[in-house]
Symmetry: D2
Subunit: 364 residues, 4 copies
């Protein structure tokens, strides 16, 4: 009986536009260009408004996919570039393939689904309309993955837009006022609305009001991950979970960190996936860890376990850069390497100051 099988491959990069490693894997047959449905990239920009490494990486990837799989497949692939590899985090692409398989379906095998939304009007960004647009897109991605029960969803990545001075001016020319004139703040509000859209789709909330978005950190999704980028005005959604009709050895689970130091839920998730360890994963375990995806943010009360942090009052260095570097250290300390997808800005993505972590491993 025909099934689908997900493949997940990490490819290190030497620069945002370095696709040589990817093309080498295409040439070796390790990755099939036509099977690529999504690429999550960590690029070495600041992860903020003027982070052009995301656009550069996306352009290089689109061009490479077009060369090897044709323009249509290239256009359909979800490219989610997340800027910021602070500290020991290492720039890389995580490539998701979906191939047809002959093996029987395995309960628990990794399922991958995706969907795109239409473009968002700049003035809808950060408001409930954006949340509803995302929720609808997540539902389509779940159907694509064959996931019926929201509890079987372990990670939802949303790439969402941000405001630029030009987009703000566009809206104003049409008489509409965007939610904020502050471009950096718009990134946070877009991630916030998108994440509540995920919560809506997963049944974690019943409705999303404008007043909740970016305001009430007690309302959140345990499985949303949103990245804002200047290179799009719509949304790209990728869902990871357990669905009908999938085969292969990959398994996914998730943890929710209550704060940036809450490592025990992550250790427990690793253990559930067969990677129990006192201290750091050993080299053998590390090889079986296929991907770790997490969101980082500074807690809004300026405290971490009662002690003052300085991330929010640092005018030289954005709090998202602080938070990625620090959480990168926390998580890399557990697993033993820095090729992790740690993405900044976790508004409504896990509890205030904490965040969701998804882990993909190869079962033995």
């Amino acid at each position: 009986m025909a099934t689908r099988r997900a493949f997940v491959t990490r490819v290190p990069t030497r620069a945002p536009d370095d696709v040589e490693g990817l093309e080498r894997l295409f040439a070796q047959g390790s990755i099939r260009p036509g099977a690529v449905v999504a690429i999550f990239g960590k690029t070495e920009g600041n992860g903020l408004v003027n982070d052009w490494t995301r656009a550069l990486a996306a352009r290089a990837l689109r061009d490479a996919l077009a060369r090897h799989a044709g323009p249509e497949a290239a256009a359909a692939a979800c490219l989610v570039m997340s800027g910021g590899t602070e500290g020991g985090l290492s720039p890389h692409f995580t490539v998701f393939e979906v191939r047809d398989a002959e093996e029987p379906a395995e309960p628990g095998a990794l399922a991958v689904g995706r969907a795109h939304s239409p473009d968002l009007a700049p003035e809808a960004l950060g408001r409930s309309g954006q949340a509803r647009m995302v929720a609808e897109t997540v539902e389509r991605a779940m159907r694509d993955a064959g996931i019926d029960d929201p509890r079987d969803v372990h990670f939802v990545q949303v790439k969402c837009p941000l405001l630029t001075p030009e987009r703000i001016a566009d809206a104003r020319r049409r008489g509409a006022e965007p939610v904020t004139p502050d471009t950096l703040k718009s990134m946070g509000l877009s991630r916030a609305a998108a994440s509540l859209g995920v919560a809506l789709a997963l049944g974690e909330v019943e409705a999303v009001a404008d007043a909740t978005i970016g305001r009430d950190p007690m309302v959140f999704s345990t499985r949303a991950s949103a990245s804002a980028g200047v290179e799009l005005m719509g949304h790209e959604v990728v869902v990871l979970g357990r669905g009908r009709g999938w085969s292969g050895p990959l398994r996914v689970d998730h943890a929710t960190m209550a704060d940036a130091l809450d490592v025990e839920p992550v250790r427990a998730a690793l253990a559930r996936l067969g990677l129990a360890a006192a201290g750091q994963l050993d080299p053998g375990q590390r090889r079986r860890l296929v991907a770790l995806l997490a969101k980082a943010e500074a807690s809004s009360d300026g405290r971490l376990r009662g002690l003052r942090h300085t991330m929010l009052g640092d005018s030289d260095l954005a709090s998202t850069r602080h938070a990625r570097g620090f959480l990168g250290g926390v998580l890399a300390g557990l697993v033993g390497h820095g090729e992790l997808y740690v993405s900044g800005g976790a508004e409504h993505q896990g509890p205030d100051g904490g965040g969701p972590v998804a882990i993909i491993v190869e079962a033995q």
Copy 2:
């Protein structure tokens, strides 16, 4: 029989010049102003050339000590302010007191010694003369602590100077050329020479050549920690170890991290001190952890465990800020809080990309 007893107290701060917490502890009798021999501070600056939070904190602490213990005791105290509390690191002072005690000496009790060097000529900075000056000062600090055997030294903190445009011009007016005209680079070279001075005093190297300083990362001390600051031209040295004639429950040990992710030696040191844990220290253990002192740096080959890091090529954010935030995450993940003395710039302080960690605990 009269002994000496070391007390070590962490005091959170709300700003670099916040000495209210300290003065409250003076008022409560928890800290005796006249017994304070050293204060290590983590302040919320960038830890680089223009980090004036160190000068501000030192000024506020000197004023507070002068008010409560007189100008002489204030002048004698070693104030080592290290800028940079990236990520979840938390600004605080660590206050070291030495009090006379009636208890019998305990083998293994924490010993604290200190010494000051004369001022260094700007042109001697980063050269072998600085290393010899520091070595001689470390030896005096060891004698002050009653430590005879260098193997009983677990941590040597050196506060060393840096070059400013004015100091460079001063040297040039006297016809002398400083080692570098680059002020940021001078911080690294000063830390480098100072650390090799520690290695010299501890017998880890036999001599220090100009050509080694800042160049050969294979030569290092396993117990040196150096911080450069604009506010002095001499050196302040504090030695922590086990010496003759000390009492009390505090114990110190150290670990050497081979790279920024090398957590197992730290876990082993914690275990030797009675704080063994799979995963993070539990709250009870955390309370017994009095201080953790560590050095952070980016590995000079641009790699961490074979994976590229971007700390050295980031022109927006100095590598020391990257490294502190990341190592801060690694270590805070182990112990469960961010009130750690993680200091940047680990030239010749542990292996390239790694560094020394000292841990002080209260024995049960």
Copy 3:
């Protein structure tokens, strides 16, 4: 007949806490410590939330004044430290003295007045209550200067507070919500409310509504200059103008720049004060220029004379740092040196993207 005479002296600094130059002028009798009513400082910090150079400079100046003029005079002096000396701007103090004189009053001689406000509650910051508090303080400073007609006021400097995470938490503990949880944004809102307070006192507006503050750039004062600093919760106001009973050769005038490149009003003001020049002031003219005080900001529409600027979308570098460096170049290009008081953040201080410029010269 007894008059008062204002003296204005620029003192270069080698560091934020460098008062040696000032004390040398005290020793020489060039500046009389007891006559100092205000010092405006340009310090080399980032001019933003975590700019501790302002607190450091203020502390050093207060200590120096206390040593030379006693604690009471030191406490009464208005110390307005403005961080940020981007580009060729040069760190310095501008010292304002008011001395008793025997010369007859001269119409047009520089008059200096000052006043302090009480502390502001964090939740009043950025709201109309702050504007009213500032207006009342400006009126007291005008009376102090003997200025009856608001048209005789050429510059009003207000030092105003900002929010920190701690101050926000304080307000919330009392059940009050500050105007913003964003500390950087709070600086802008505080400057905004203070500047509208000046406009109120000078009759440039009739009332200030909450909704205008920080929102409507069409409402502004042509003579306000506000700097926010973490080191105070009240306001310090200094008024420069022409008043009754002043003598001496100093004269003041002002210009309003319509945008950051609007140099012709500045050239015209220089000409009115006797410093007409095609091109740059010549060295003789430059010596007669005693002080130039200006406000810089990025225009909120992202355009300068129709061309896009990138100051508002730069997440690595705050727009105020961009704007100070650029306007510093524009103005230093006119007058021939960079020892100018160019201060960032010109909310309601002159037109959007432009700002007020005050010039003090020594009449021939």
Copy 4:
């Protein structure tokens, strides 16, 4: 008699990869894609090692030229992207075309020549071999422009490479040690060697020794402009001057600023080109100003006209960003807009702290 005619067009951009404006001018026939020989771009990055806006812009421009003029013409065009539009500087492309013309040659008409060098070995960067390679390339570009006498050269733009951690590692694998392991410093040394190569070609110096490069600021070219970028390992050279066989109304001249405030030589050059003005150019004059190209840098002695600047001691903000914003203000103040090619890092490009300025105008 057939001549060549240079066209120079400034095209504003909305993002580094925005070629819509350019393609609109292609469509209108205002710019002929096949005639484009060079594009100088100001992009909104930091202008430093990790400025990926240059690569992104170059990629977008190459793609656009290939679409409209074919891959060969696209490959031959010199694309010199200079990052950094601090303050009121405005991102734009300056497009240089060379078209065949029927008009008679006009003495003094703008001539444009170009040439490419082969790739440089990483270990040759910043050393005399690089200077000689550049000198030879400049000579070829002069021949291309029909310029026989170096005195007829008014501007030489060189795009040169920089070191990355990977390139350094490459060299070391071959047993060769690059001139510096510091990637940021490599940018300065590459610009230094390239600029001395220009001086060599123009007869301003007779030879270039390794020891001069980046060390002796008294040796310089008055007409070199060098920009380093990560996207190439060779050099691209464009020469502007007066040559044989050119027609059309464009004229070029240059000035040498002795320091960042030395505006009078620029005013004199404008006057020689028919744009004399007391104060700022008026709107009519401004329209005739086709391009202004300049280099900015912080003076190495930390002084500007005897007053301290803080550009070299600012660890948060690179001195090149400071210098561009400030000189941008000085020059934009003269001409009245910010669409200027002000490029950072002026090692051996004009006197220490000053730099070359080239001006292209349309003759009446």
